[in-house]
Symmetry: C2
Subunit: 413 residues, 2 copies
């Protein structure tokens, strides 16, 4: 027991593009074997191969016909097969290199979830079998993105589900580190396709990463949140390029993090919905937004001005793809909640400066607004959190805004 | 409870070629809904779609490399996904026609097996969930070919596994009938491609069907055996053509079965292995054949002549594809079991007459040998069972032999 608990345990995760064919699987299998032979306990979470999930979704649509949504319960079992395929193939590849290995489904790995098919939350992890297999000297491959609910039915964890699996297993095993391998090689100060001087960060704090989650690494905020709660250090790195990645952790900020602003987050698919002449009573905002939450539409920035005449304007943003549905859901409430009219507008973007160092320092907002103004960027809406300031701007202004801010906050160097 | 037990329950099985694309799945789904709406309790076992199993095997071989056999445990989980995909798709299709439905994996259907990966045997079926879903008015789709062993690992049932699943579920549920839908429309007196006058049988007994298992219906003997033990009537019929099939049952033979010979079974891939000068001691035959059994090679006809000088010749047949491996395994034993030499020869076939009516009647062997002789077919080996006489002949002689026997035993009419 002492022996086992002293051994280093690493949880790795490989995304779909990393395991999209047999050759890539063999390449990764070889790396895993090399690492395992250093004596590290290895748990490896894999996503479905390349486009296999899309193919399964297309099949589901074909058998149900155009105008019917496939049953979410059936869809979950169907989609879970994609990860089972890549997990067993990875285990076979590792086995062919004479390394002891076993693949486990989410269920076998002890992952229990609630019954929300399509976007289940992990309720608990029974790590008994995982620990037994690790103690037996096996590399353990786990099918990502899936679990089992109380009724014994397969569930899936929704977008970014395999990242969540990896971080949750790392937490349950008290692993030394979770390593997310993907097709980008780390977290950047901002999108390098828009700001040529963007730099890769060596490390970043959980909270900053949460705010920056929409950046290059495409990591789901949910897994970052989980990592923060359980204090799991997460390395984001490239699968095939042997270059240093970015470590997301909660330790003392080192030199690099002392700079006030760590990065510029960009989100270019924003629409806003404005409800005018709302009676300003307690509970009105909640009432208006509840049907959107029930329809699974995320509401992001919310701005409401207090008013003197008892009526107010209420504005919020949603992703552009969900704007039309959100507008309809608001309109349907005009009978129960009094307001004058509702309008929507797209073509917007969110530009945010993020950094824990901002918490105690003044002047960041002023610097931001000045920089945007000098770049002729008009600000539509503003919101702030403890470690972030966000401006809603026209989508076409994003390059000018991002470059101006990157320079103004000395991220180019 | 009384209500539930009085309701008719049918277990159906659809093979891989019947569910090879979305259109076929929708066609079958519609038929299942029509049947379910008559009030019958429906459990439907499906195989993997068309060639999907072959594609998974090819992937497994690609990740393990040329000269390594993929781990059987991993292979079982990998292959089991094929049936999960078709089961969930079938459930979605049925759901789109507004019929209550649920898909279950082998595990969820309560199928427990031993741990022989690749060819597991069913140990028990806990029909609790199946019964609950049926009582709730749902059509239950079950992924065929798979179960769960005591360690909680997925197993597969080997060749013909989905037929076995269907018959076993029918037995566990005390279903009224098991219906096997396939790309042939029933059991014929012999192979219609070889004997143009071959006729489809309306019904056939379990024992006869066991002997004829290699005929057109391609049914696995294992599922017939299971059906016989639990007295489950099995209908073999065409998936898409609306013509009567063949009912396999254990009831009193009706008119048609009173004829002595029910059919002519043909197997055209036979090789024989002859071991000469074997010391005729008890246990020698068992000793020679044990390594073949351990290698999974089925030995079929076995002929041994008693001898006076203490040494004997020992001949057996195997399928042509396994002849070379069998020969090597026998040769390896020359050091431990004394024999003079061993030879093998292929290009043979088995021609059998089958019928329960033969049990009490004499003269069938004589009629068979005369008919073959008149057709200039030489007989190499002969074995008999209670309801079958088998001759090993040259493969090229099969058409002449089959047609001569079909006529001699009055099956043409």
């Amino acid at each position: 027991m002492v022996e086992a608990s002293r051994r280093q345990v690493i949880v790795q995760k490989y995304g779909g593009s990393s395991v999209s064919n047999a050759e890539k699987i063999r390449t990764i299998a070889r790396k895993i074997c090399d690492r395992a032979r250093t004596g590290v306990g290895m748990v490896v979470v894999v996503s479905a191969m390349g486009d296999s999930t899309d193919e399964l979704i297309a099949l589901a649509q074909a058998v149900t016909g155009e105008h019917v949504n496939p049953s979410l319960r059936e869809m979950d079992t169907l989609l879970s097969t994609g990860e089972l395929v890549s997990a067993t193939l990875m285990a076979m590849a590792i086995h062919s290199f004479d390394q002891d290995v076993v693949s486990l489904s989410g269920q076998q790995a002890g992952i229990r979830t609630d019954a929300t098919h399509g976007s289940a939350r992990i309720a608990s992890i029974n790590n008994e079998r995982l620990t037994r297999e690790l103690d037996a000297g096996r590399v353990v491959i786990v099918a990502g993105f899936q679990g089992l609910d109380e009724a014994g039915d397969v569930t899936t964890l929704g977008r970014g589900g395999s990242d969540t699996t990896a971080v949750a297993l790392a937490a349950a095993l008290k692993a030394d580190r979770c390593e997310i391998y993907t097709d980008v090689d780390g977290i950047y100060t901002t999108d390098p396709r828009i700001v040529p001087t963007a730099r890769k960060l060596k490390e970043i704090g959980y909270e900053e990463m949460l705010e920056m989650a929409s950046l290059g690494a495409k990591m789901n905020p949910r897994s970052i949140e989980l990592a923060a709660v359980y204090q799991v250090p997460v390395l984001v790195a490239s699968t095939f390029e042997d270059v240093p990645g970015t470590l997301i952790h909660g330790g003392e900020p080192v030199m690099e993090l002392r700079r006030a602003v760590t990065g510029i987050a960009l989100d270019k698919n924003v629409a806003k919905i404005t409800v005018r002449g709302v009676m300003d009573r307690p509970g009105v905002a909640g009432g208006l937004l509840r049907p959107l939450a029930e329809a699974g539409i995320s509401v992001d920035v919310i701005v409401q001005n207090t008013s003197d005449d008892g009526a107010t304007d209420f504005t919020f943003t949603v992703s552009e793809a969900e704007a039309q549905r959100a507008l309809e859901l608001i309109k349907q409430q005009q009978e129960t909640i009094a307001f004058r009219d509702v309008t929507s507008g797209g073509g917007l973007a969110k530009v945010s400066i993020v950094g824990t160092g901002m918490q105690n320092g003044p002047g960041y907002a002023a610097t931001m607004f000045t920089a945007l103004s000098s770049a002729n960027v008009n600000i539509d809406m503003i919101t702030t959190s403890e470690i972030r300031i966000t401006c809603i701007v026209k989508r076409d202004d994003v390059p000018a805004a991002a470059n101006a801010l990157h320079t103004a906050f000395e991220l180019d160097s």
